[in-house]
Amino acid sequence: MTPFSEALGLAFKLVFTGDEALYSAVALSLRVSITATAVACFLGFLIGGLLAVKRFTGRSIVIAALNSLMGLPPVVVGLVVYLYLSRSGPLGFLGLLYTPTAMIIAQTLLILPIVAAMSRQVLEDLHLEYDEQFRSLSLTSRETVQAILWEGRFALVTVALAGLGRAIAEVGAVMIVGGNIDNLTRVMTTAIALETSRGDLPLAMALGIVLLTLALVLNAAVQGLRETTYRASHV
């Protein structure tokens, strides 16, 4: 039996026997990453919308900085959040270190620049298309941002998916601020890292296959929803 087929068999076994550790890690992965994506989308779409519509001094510097932050290394984000949340840090009194909340904060910071930068690009193109019409209607900046966010809803779903993909696959930041504690802060990626370091490669690969399948199903579901709603308003 090859290591891959062994891993595949194990992955099926874990899924269909209802392995508690697996389901706990999957549930936590989804909870942390979906929450972080939701928060990042709320803030990122707003930042992207404002940058697309507003003209101000230093705008191009902000955009360049945002684009650079898209490549932020997860371990650096993890380290910064760790320093802030550690007992001696400025937010240490909150007692959030090694909790899922700390992991959500880290992932939010990690994907916020991605969501903001990508949505800025999408919304700026839309703003160019609607600019004269909206100015003719004398819409305020706030009304314009609201309108283009709604007009760009289909493209923004793709942006959210990119953010979710980055969050769910990330390991460095959640490892540092979550601590990979069994049944508390262990997610799919940190479990894979742990099993690999233990030398249990089939189990690590099995977890990897489950993670990959999960990401695929999630993307397919959202993409299907997106295309259905897109057709309903564009056909």
């Binding site: 298309e129 609607y130 004269e132 019409q133 100015r135 003719s136 209607l137 004398s138 819409l139 305020t140 009304e143 609201q146 309108a147 007009e151 289909f154 309903a232 308003s233 564009h234 056909v235």
Partner: protein
């Protein structure tokens, strides 16, 4: 959601005084450059406006730019634009509506495109939207996505949305340039009806036959200037005062 428009009125809210008042547009010393080229140069115009004014002229005359300037979408390099003696402002623009050559529609249903500009409660806006769609013959397409409409239908929807803002002044930038004759006549009829009920219309076209059908007064532009302003359209078509306008009406290429 959007700020109240001072002039917004829904179907059935008749304002008789509007039909009796005239609108004046005074433009003087208007200049606009694009790169090193002066596209509008020292343009002056004084219109006392009670009906449908057509701005016509050859391609590149600056008609569309002039329309954007008087609507406040572009700021001139020099000169003044005054509506009823007041300089152009957001408040004045709120009382105007513009229809562009290429319809700019929202990615929503035809009805939602009109509801977007109606500052009315949801149910009232819905009824009003259907009435405006009916005016342009699109009531049966209310629920259809705007982007699925044909070119002519899109432009009629764009016109219905402009009329839904109950504008005092309606600015049209070659709205029928890409339409077939039937759609063109529908658009002309709807705009003429709006004009008859008190909306001042400024219509840009380079189609002289269309201008003859609809114009009550004509402004002829060429090379970024107003060459001729005929307060009575028929005098312009019968006896143009300038050689440039005569050449244009005779179908000669102006260069």
């Amino acid at each position: 959601m959007f700020k109240a428009r001072p002039s917004i009125r829904l179907v059935g809210d008749v304002d008789d005084t509007a039909a009796q008042q005239s609108t004046t547009l005074e433009v003087s010393g208007l200049c606009l450059s694009r790169g090193s080229k002066q596209v509008i140069s020292d343009l002056g115009l004084n219109i006392r406006h009670t009906g449908l004014a057509v701005i016509m002229g050859p391609n590149g005359a600056g008609k569309s730019l002039f329309l954007r300037l008087i609507h406040g979408l572009i700021q001139p390099d020099a000169g003044t634009i005054r509506w009823n003696g007041q300089p152009m402002s957001d408040r004045i623009r709120l009382r105007q509506a513009m229809v562009f050559q290429k319809p700019v529609l929202l990615r929503r249903s035809a009805r939602a495109n009109i509801e977007f500009v109606l500052g009315a409660p949801r149910l009232r806006a819905r009824h009003a939207a259907i009435e405006f769609l009916d005016r342009v013959g699109l009531a049966d397409k209310a629920a259809q996505p705007a982007h699925s409409l044909s070119g002519g239908e899109k432009q009629r929807l764009s016109l219905a949305r402009a009329l839904a803002t109950a504008p005092e002044v309606l600015l049209l930038d070659e709205p029928t340039a890409n339409l077939d004759p039937a759609s063109t006549l529908t658009v002309e009829k709807v705009v003429q009806n709006a004009s008859a009920t008190g909306t001042r219309v400024v219509w840009v076209t380079h189609d002289r036959f269309q201008a003859e059908r609809i114009a009550e007064q004509v402004v002829f532009m060429d090379r970024g200037k107003v060459v001729e302003h005929a307060p009575a359209a028929h005098t312009f078509f019968e006896r143009p005062a300038s050689a440039r306008a005569a050449s244009y009406l005779a179908g000669k290429i102006l260069c």
